[in-house]
Every structure is written in structure tokens, then in C-alpha cells.
């Protein structure tokens, strides 16, 4: 039985993101990477493979450029690669429907992905797919392993950190994991180059996308912060704390 890992290519978190006109300017992105939480999922998938699962299939949904993320996954050991190729902006249910169809095609009953992508910061894909496929869904995990035939995960649940067990079929969404994604090596890179990416259109997957129910009107830079404010004396601490909540919204 194979493990499917869902990855998304996003602007590297260290890359500048700028807005030109009313859209994020993709041409200004200096580096594209696999979304960080997906990297943890990929590392876990590789470890599950090492503990006996037959193969790791990496799946992405996105425009042409995102195929490179699959090659990067192959360089660290992903065995097969599926690119659901769409150029248009899709809404959450469209993405989930496509990826669910791709997962079904692989027959994978263990699916790993990041808890959210570093571009949209949403976190809709994993749980949505679990519902569509009627897989169990364990969110915000840091580790998944196999113990005597059952899947064991560490998750940050509503009541705190806990160890849970669950059976396949199951989808896990990854928080920062226990293990960083392994570094590729030259051999892996050369193997990756030889692996073919299976490119599928929505039609190939038997999905009629229909129209997106969400239309992006604009992207904009956040409003400028107010100029720095300086206060005299300790009595101003209360004011600053209140401003951190009301103006800055950071606590």
C-alpha cells in the first residue's frame, strides 16, 4: 500500500512577495519552494515508506511551474509524481475535488499534507479531501508512525498535545513536524530527472470543474503601519498592551 503526499509549490517563505497592479506579482518571486508544512508531510511519507509502505506518490495541483516541486520531491525519494495541471484560479471545493480524484486513482489510503499552504494560509484542502473521500482526518500532527498495524500520531488537539491512533484510510495534516525534510543528494537529483511526471487534466480525472464560486477581486499590500509612537514612563505599558491587541492585533 502506498502513501500519497500532497504538496504545493509556493513562493519561498524567505522570498519577497510584492503586489503589482491588483495582483501578487509572481514574476518578482525569486525562489519557489515546496510549502514548508508540506515538506514535513513529505519527510514523514519517506519515513513511512522506510517502515514498510510500498511507495510514496507525490501529487500537486497547479500551473505548469509547479511541476518542479514534484521533481524536488523525487530528488528526496518520492517514487511517482502526479501533476494535476490547471492554470486558472480555483476555489477550495474545486481543488479538493481534483486532488480527491487523483488520490482515488492511486488507491492510497494514507494521505499526508501540510496543515496550510504558505501562500494562501488557508488549510482547507486536507480536511475537505478527507470528507470527500470519507477518510478519517487527523489535523495538526507532528509525527505519524505505524505501531503494530495501526497508525499512531502526535497531534495538537483542542485539549492539548496528545497521542492518538487511527486506522487507514486516513488523511493527516502536518504542523511543524519532528523531522526536517532530508537534504537531497546528487544521486537523488539525477534519478529525479529521469522520473516522469504524470500530467493530468481535470478531464483525465473525470472531473467537470464548472465555475469557481470565488472570484478574487484584488490583492493589495496591507495598510501602512502608523508611524512609531513613543511613550514616557512605565504608566504607558497599559496603553501599549491595548494597542498591541487593538491596532496591531498580534496578541
Amino acid at each position: 500500500m502506498g502513501v500519497a503526499v500532497l504538496i504545493k509549490q509556493v513562493p519561498d517563505t524567505t522570498s519577497k512577495v510584492s503586489v503589482a497592479g491588483d495582483r501578487v506579482d509572481e514574476s518578482s518571486v525569486s525562489k519557489w519552494s515546496i510549502s514548508p508544512y508540506d515538506e514535513y508531510a513529505l519527510e514523514c511519507a519517506m519515513r513511512l515508506k522506510e517502515s514498510g509502505y510500498s511507495e510514496v506518490v507525490a501529487i500537486t495541483c497547479g500551473p505548469q511551474r509547479s511541476s518542479k516541486a514534484l521533481t524536488e520531491a523525487a530528488a528526496v525519494g518520492a517514487d511517482s509524481l502526479i501533476h494535476v495541471h490547471v492554470e486558472d484560479s480555483l476555489d477550495s471545493i474545486q481543488v479538493q475535488t481534483l486532488l480527491s480524484a487523483a488520490i482515488k486513482r492511486t488507491g492510497s489510503e494514507i494521505v499526508l499534507c501540510g496543515k496550510q499552504a504558505a501562500d494562501t494560509n488557508s488549510g482547507s484542502t486536507g480536511p475537505g479531501i478527507a470528507s470527500i473521500l470519507d477518510y478519517s482526518c487527523v489535523g495538526v500532527v507532528s509525527e505519524v508512525s505505524v505501531d503494530d498495524g495501526v497508525l499512531v500520531a502526535t497531534r495538537q488537539g483542542p485539549s492539548g498535545l496528545e497521542e492518538i491512533e487511527v486506522s487507514a484510510p486516513c488523511l493527516f495534516t502536518f504542523d511543524k513536524g519532528e523531522s526536517e525534510l532530508r537534504r537531497p543528494n546528487v544521486r537523488g537529483i539525477m534519478m529525479a530527472k529521469k522520473k516522469t511526471v504524470e500530467a493530468l487534466t481535470p478531464g483525465d480525472l473525470g472531473v467537470d470543474l464548472g465555475e469557481s464560486a470565488v472570484i478574487v477581486n484584488s490583492h493589495s499590500s496591507p495598510p501602512d503601519k502608523p508611524p512609531g509612537q513613543k511613550f514616557e514612563g512605565v504608566s504607558s505599558i497599559a496603553t501599549v498592551v491595548q494597542k498591541l491587541r487593538d491596532e496591531a492585533n498580534v496578541i
Partner: protein
């Protein structure tokens, strides 16, 4: 998850677009490793005067040692990829690039090209994985630019060779498991493989360097050093042996220097944008912009030189004089940029908070090793005029 701000390598003429997917992936792998492992730890390594053993292991795991060599567990990458590896390593530190240059171009390469089948099968896989470290013994205390007059000698004693002499300025010497040593046998230069632990062989470390502090530099001492007969490199004699090794290493240096220069440029750019004097970032002043623009210009030329040299190496259409020009020009350029970058950093430039002074000190070595700057001038002078000017003899 939060990493340092993205390092945006200067690539004004979009060399990136000329690289293959594989070359880009190898470069990014090494770039990420340098970012994660070298840059945060290099100052400590320099202070302690060590080349961290973890780096040896990790460089070995990446599979980049002996990059352009094929077979025997070697990577089989293009010369362009080898150049990119050197560039990224030297952006971290010249000492790290030196480690890889010596291992790949100076120790693995002669075994690969001039060694017996048995030698290749025995040594190369262990060296490609980083398990064994190699070094290269050519320079002697009294023979630097003039290696042809070396005094280290080998004698054929029937069932073994006996080596006597000393080598100096040997990168990796003390940590090496084997040394490729050039010595005269019956008056002719031949290559020998000496292993750590061979009777009569020692490799004391040279201390007190102000340059390449994170790189191990040693003497190799041979006092009636006894080595088996099967340790001679069968397929080369004369200076062609060591010089062909040096050509490959010098080619790598021409890329490495670009990496060091990029690091200094990047630091100068960031610093000048955040340093406020007279109420404005110093980057807004014309004298600073003039310097930054000069750096951009020189780095871009150096990149194109290195890239084109790589293409010629991959096509096999190169001559050694072209490599001399690339090495000499790019190291000279990088050293000038390091000094200029230090200048832009003002007094802050002398601190180990910034990489520039370290690069500057390193590049003084790089300017001198693998053929000094002036020797490369003489190589080109001979090429232009047909008259050699190394010696007074006709």
C-alpha cells in the same frame, strides 16, 4: 521554519536561464546547505581553526565530491555543475571550497585519470562519499612557483618505493587519509599515493594563519617513507600530471571567487541600505552607488567568464591559458570587491558580524595558491609572445 531572508544571488545577465534543471537543482542543494550549515557556524570554525568533521560528512552525503568525474561512485556532473558547486561553497568560505577542490580536482582526479584500475576501484568510491579525505603534495618549502625543481625523491627498492623530502602548504594534509604526492623517480616527476599510517610519513599542521582559518593546512614529511609498488600512478609522468590537476582546480576557483564576491557584494548592498548617515541610507550617496555599480559590473563579467569557461570544459575545446585568465581575473576581482565592500561597511567591516574581512583574508591565499596571480600573467605573456619569461635561461 523562519529562515534567514532569502539570499538573492546576483545574476544580472540571467545565467540561471542557461543552466539545465539538474545544474540548478545541484546548485540550490549546495546553496541551501551553505546557508543552513556553513554561514551560521563559519566564524566559530575560524576562531577554533578547524574544518568541522560534520561538514566533511555532509558534503560527502550530498555526493558532490569529484563532481565531473565519471564512474567509480563519482557524480558524473557537468563542469558547469562543478563550477556552481564551487561558487556556492565559496560564498560560504574559501576554506570549504578548498576542501572540495583538493579532494575532487587534486586527489580524486589524478587517480581517476592516471591511476590503475585497481587504484580507481579501491580509492575513488571512498573519496566520493567523503569517507576518505585526500590531499595533494606538489609545493615544497623552497619550490613554489617552480615545482619542476622539486627535491622530493622516490627510489625504487625492488619490492617497494622509498620517499624522502617534504611538501608544504598542503590543504587537508593532517586530516587526509591519503596523499597524492609528486616526487622525482630517476629524475622524472611521477605521482605516488601515500596513505596515512605509512611508515616514515607524517603530516603536521601549520598553525598561525590569518587566512583560510577554517581549512587545515599542513606539511607532509617523508623520512624513508616506504610505500608498496602498486601505489605509483602508472599513466603519467612529468609536470603534465600535477598541472592537469591544477587546471581543474583553477577552473573551480574561477567560479568560487564569484561566490566570495557575491557574498561581499550582498553584504555591502544590505549594509548600505540600512546604514543611515547624514539622515539618509548611505546607499543613496553617489560614491557608494559608484562602488556598488563597479561590483555589479565586475561580478557580472566574472560570471560570464566562468560560465563560458565551463562550456568550453564541457565541450573539451579549452586551452590551459584560458583557465589561467579566468582564475587570475576572478580572484583579483573578488579580492578587490572584498576590499571595497569592507570600505562600504566602514568600521563595522572589520567585525566578524559581516563576512567581508574573512573573505578578504581568504582571497589573499586564493590569489597565491594554484598558480600565483603573477605566474598566470606569465603564462598569458608566453601565450601572447611565444617567449617564456619564468626563468633567466634561454
Amino acid at each position: 521554519m523562519m529562515r534567514n531572508m532569502a539570499y538573492e544571488a546576483l545574476d544580472f545577465y540571467d545565467i540561471d536561464s542557461m543552466l539545465s534543471e539538474e545544474e540548478r537543482m545541484v546548485r540550490d542543494m549546495v546553496r541551501d546547505w551553505v546557508e543552513d550549515r556553513v554561514i551560521p557556524n563559519i566564524e566559530e570554525a575560524c576562531r577554533d581553526g578547524v574544518f568541522p568533521d560534520d561538514w566533511r560528512k555532509e558534503i560527502g552525503e550530498m555526493g558532490i565530491l569529484g563532481a565531473p568525474l565519471k564512474g567509480y561512485g563519482c557524480p558524473g556532473l557537468s563542469y558547469i555543475a562543478y563550477g556552481l558547486i564551487c561558487q556556492e561553497l565559496e560564498r560560504g568560505d574559501s576554506g570549504v571550497r578548498s576542501f572540495a577542490s583538493v579532494q575532487g580536482s587534486l586527489a580524486m582526479y589524478p587517480i581517476h585519470d592516471f591511476g590503475s584500475e585497481e587504484q580507481k576501484e579501491y580509492y575513488l568510491p571512498k573519496m566520493a562519499s567523503g569517507e576518505w579525505v585526500g590531499c595533494f603534495g606538489l609545493t615544497e618549502p623552497d619550490y613554489g612557483s617552480n615545482p619542476g625543481d622539486m627535491i622530493t625523491r622516490a627510489e625504487d627498492k625492488g619490492d617497494h618505493f622509498l620517499l624522502n623530502g617534504a611538501k608544504m602548504w598542503i590543504t587537508n594534509g593532517t586530516i587526509a587519509d591519503l596523499a597524492v604526492v609528486w616526487a622525482k623517480l630517476d629524475g622524472e616527476i611521477k605521482g605516488f599515493i601515500v596513505e596515512k599510517g605509512d611508515e616514515g610519513f607524517s603530516a603536521p599542521e601549520m598553525k598561525g594563519k590569518h587566512s583560510l582559518k577554517a581549512s587545515v593546512t599542513s606539511e607532509l614529511v617523508f623520512q624513508d617513507c616506504k610505500i608498496p609498488k602498486n601505489r605509483i600512478l602508472p599513466d603519467v609522468k612529468g609536470l603534465r600530471g600535477p598541472f592537469s590537476c591544477l587546471n581543474n582546480a583553477r577552473y573551480g576557483i574561477s567560479w568560487g571567487a564569484v561566490g566570495a564576491a557575491q557574498s561581499c557584494f550582498n553584504s555591502a548592498k544590505e549594509y548600505s541600505l540600512s546604514r543611515i548617515q547624514f539622515g539618509h541610507p548611505i546607499a543613496s550617496f553617489q560614491l557608494i552607488q559608484n562602488k556598488l555599480s563597479w561590483m555589479l559590473r565586475e561580478i557580472t563579467k566574472g560570471q560570464l567568464l566562468a560560465y563560458h569557461m565551463g562550456k568550453k570544459k564541457d565541450d573539451g575545446t579549452w586551452i590551459p591559458e584560458q583557465i589561467s585568465l579566468a582564475k587570475m581575473n576572478n580572484v583579483d576581482m573578488a579580492l578587490e570587491i572584498a576590499r571595497m565592500s569592507r570600505d562600504i561597511h566602514g568600521a563595522n567591516g572589520i567585525l566578524d558580524e559581516y563576512p567581508v574581512m574573512r573573505h578578504m583574508a581568504n582571497l589573499e591565499s586564493v590569489k597565491t595558491y594554484e598558480g600565483t596571480h603573477d605566474i598566470h600573467n606569465l603564462i598569458l605573456g608566453r601565450h601572447i609572445t611565444g617567449i617564456q619569461s619564468f626563468t633567466r635561461e634561454p
